[in-house]
């Protein structure tokens, strides 16, 4: 039987999907070694949602995505921004290495139109990443739909949401909480497949990575990480 299957798979007409061992597919490198190291696919999950819980603007929350978006520019796919709170500023994006020809700005009215646009973009298969700032309109059912859309479109869906959602369940494969200190951006992995609880400090503006800060409320998480 096994032999027969192997024989079959040698047929060039048959395409094999790439399954990484242990069922975890390689992600899209974040560009930050310390972060890649703790993420299951060594990067932002592809074909899945990533929730970024953040309450303040101007702490480097977008800079965190820039290395991945610059790399995604190599793909012949869109990088969609659905109803962003401000203008994604072209000169700054270009300086970060993002190809502006890949940028798709979608302005939809808040509510059903925005949800619909996010779902369409995720599911279409033609967006490498989709960035959105959905908030109250997202219930668990809708999140599951978006998660399915991201899967079918093999897209990386970034959802920026306020941190008070932290205690609500979410189907997203990855949840990060980000905060800032005077030393740099603090990224806390709240949920991911396999392990969670890691906290690190990243200097997102200079692409400089600092080692995991053990004193930043990470004690419990660290222990859990060791158990795995």
């Amino acid at each position: 039987m096994q032999k027969a299957i192997e024989h079959l798979l040698q047929n060039p007409a048959i395409r094999q999907a790439n399954f990484a061992p242990l069922g975890i597919r390689p992600g899209r490198s974040t560009g930050f070694a310390a972060l890649d190291e703790v993420l299951p696919g060594a990067g932002w999950p592809i074909g899945s949602l990533t929730e970024i819980l953040v309450d303040r603007q101007g702490i480097g929350e977008l800079s965190l995505l820039m290395p991945a978006l610059a790399a995604a520019s190599e793909e012949q796919r869109w990088i969609a921004w659905v109803s962003p709170p401000h203008i994604p500023y072209g000169p700054a994006l270009a300086a970060k290495g993002v190809d502006l020809a890949r940028i798709l700005l979608i302005h939809a009215r808040p509510g059903p139109d925005t949800l619909w646009a996010v779902e369409q973009a995720l599911a279409s298969g033609t967006c490498s990443s989709v960035l959105s700032w959905l908030d109250d309109e997202l219930d668990n059912r809708m999140l599951r739909r978006l998660q399915l859309a991201a899967e079918s479109g093999q897209s990386t869906g970034f959802l920026f949401r306020p941190s008070d959602h932290v205690n609500l369940p979410s189907p997203a494969a990855l949840r990060l909480g980000i905060e800032t200190t005077s030393h740099g951006l603090v990224v806390k992995v709240l949920k991911c497949r396999g392990r969670s609880g890691a906290t690190m400090m990243l200097d997102v503006d200079h692409d400089l990575v600092e080692p995991v800060f053990s004193h930043l409320g990470a004690g419990r998480g660290q222990t859990r990480q060791l158990q795995h």
Partner: protein, 468 residues
């Protein structure tokens, strides 16, 4: 080759829906309403062609009844003729239910008569039409043979006489008087008829008949008017039952879109605009205008665009018929029909399709790209653009990832803020929107970083960007 559509009056209605409720078409030429054609599920209840309406209703109370609409049938035949252009440029419409195709020139391209015939018949049946067909060296013979049961693909002129002789007189569709005369003479087949002396047939029985038989046998020229495909696509479809259900409407619309696809395929052309009219029992038809970024003939693609629009629409009346009108046709770039190809061009088309779906619901202005502009004023160093356009790189100082839509007035920056700068931007005198500003990167005491400036003339501060 003859393609004969005996059930056209029924098919134009039946193909509009996927339901199989009993359906009958009434012949409205006669005073008394009689069933002209009915579908299988009506037949199962005992309804037959020629039956009177009350009798049919007695057998099947749930029977859906439609009057015959010649206009709709003609439109359907025209769109079939447009489709058939893919197989031969020489074809004509005969009567109200037949197409005659000159296929001799197309045989080599399609690998012979049988494969060609198979392909044509498969496609017609897929479109939802019942068809009789036959091939013969003369159009008239093909026409007669297509009405007879069984398949006739005659290629030799010598075989024509024998084949035609076997046909019954019913295939001639004679008027009742002539038919009675012939039967009284004991004639049953075309062979019997051809055995009669020519003068006898010409003068006594049916003068036109001799002419017809001569044309069938190739003894007389038989010129036909060639069909010219219409410049713009137009088709309509009557729905078996009135509906406001978007799934049912999409099913019907899909039929029309497939017709359009087939018609445009011939010339490898596409349209960028479509108008869908949804006719109600009374009042004006509801119109949906659809537009694409690039012309397309792909029925599936148009269907997706239409679905988006239909889902948004609330119909306050039921729809009884659909009309689809195409805009100006333009040539399509050569591309493979391979749906599963993931070549860059294929993905390119898919990428455009996403834009079109989004625009269909959100509006044209809601979907944009970003381009850089050589201008020192930050708010003019970029602009909205068609998605996908490339920009020349312009190097600038440090810029924030968020730019505010309008600079926002600010109190004097707090003393705890750390300011880096200034970067002086002073330009624009030539177009009257001149600026003179000192920009700073400001880090607040809580770690946020903003892009702020001081207007040098008013000496007031503004927030202009966020280092997100």
């Amino acid at each position: 080759m003859s393609l004969y559509f005996p059930t056209l009056a029924l098919d134009v209605v039946r193909r509009g829906s996927c339901s199989t409720e009993p359906l009958a078409i009434l012949d409205n030429r006669e005073q008394r309403h009689r069933v002209l054609l009915c579908n299988r599920s009506a037949e199962a209840s005992g309804v037959r062609a020629g039956m009177s309406l009350p009798a049919a209703l007695a057998l099947e109370p749930a029977l859906i009844i439609k009057s015959r609409r010649h206009q709709v049938e003609q439109t359907a035949l025209t769109s079939l003729a447009t489709w058939a252009h893919a197989y031969t440029p020489k074809l004509s419409i005969a009567g109200s239910d037949e197409l005659l195709l000159e296929v001799a020139g197309s045989l080599r391209l399609f690998g012979g008569l049988r494969p060609l015939t198979q392909k044509i018949i498969d496609e017609i049946e897929h479109m939802g039409y019942g068809v009789g067909y036959a091939a013969a060296p003369t159009p008239q013979a093909a026409s007669l043979l297509s009405r007879a049961p069984g398949e006739s693909l005659v290629t030799q002129r010598d075989a024509l006489l024998t084949t035609l002789s076997g046909l019954t007189l019913a295939t001639l569709e004679l008027d009742r008087k002539t038919a009675t005369t012939l039967t009284a003479l004991g004639l049953e087949s075309l062979g019997d008829l051809l055995g009669l002396p020519r003068p006898e047939l010409k003068s006594r029985i049916a003068p036109g008949l001799l002419n017809l038989l001569d044309r069938a046998l190739g003894r007389r020229p038989d010129p036909r008017t060639l069909f010219k495909p219409p410049v713009r696509f137009r088709a309509c479809l009557e729905l078996p039952a009135p509906t406001a259900n978007s799934q049912a409407l999409l099913f019907g619309a899909h039929r029309l879109l497939k017709d359009m696809d087939a018609g445009l395929r011939v010339r490898n052309e596409g349209v960028a605009q479509l108008l869908m009219l949804m006719h109600h029992p009374r009042g004006r038809a509801t119109q949906i205008r659809l537009g694409l970024v690039q012309p397309s003939r792909n029925a599936e693609h148009w269907q997706r665009v239409l679905r988006v629009r239909l889902e948004q629409l609330t119909l306050d009346q039921e729809v009884v018929a659909l009309t689809l009108r195409g805009g100006a046709q333009s040539p399509l770039a050569e591309q493979a029909d391979d749906l599963f190809g993931d070549t860059p061009e294929q993905l390119g088309t898919e990428r455009v399709h996403l834009l079109e779906r989004l625009q269909a619901r959100l509006g044209d202005e809601a979907v944009k790209g970003i381009a850089l502009v050589r201008d020192h004023r930050p708010e003019r160093a970029w602009q909205m653009a068609i998605p996908g356009v490339s920009s020349e790189t312009v190097s600038t100082g440090r810029r924030p990832l968020w730019l505010l839509r309008e600079p926002r007035g600010l109190q004097h920056p707090k003393s705890q803020w750390r300011l880096q700068g200034p970067e002086r931007i002073e330009t624009g005198w030539w177009d009257g929107v001149d600026v003179s500003r000192d920009y700073f990167c400001a880090q607040t005491e809580t770690g946020e970083r903003f892009w702020i400036f001081r207007d040098r003339r008013s000496r007031t501060w503004f927030l202009h960007g966020v280092f997100a």
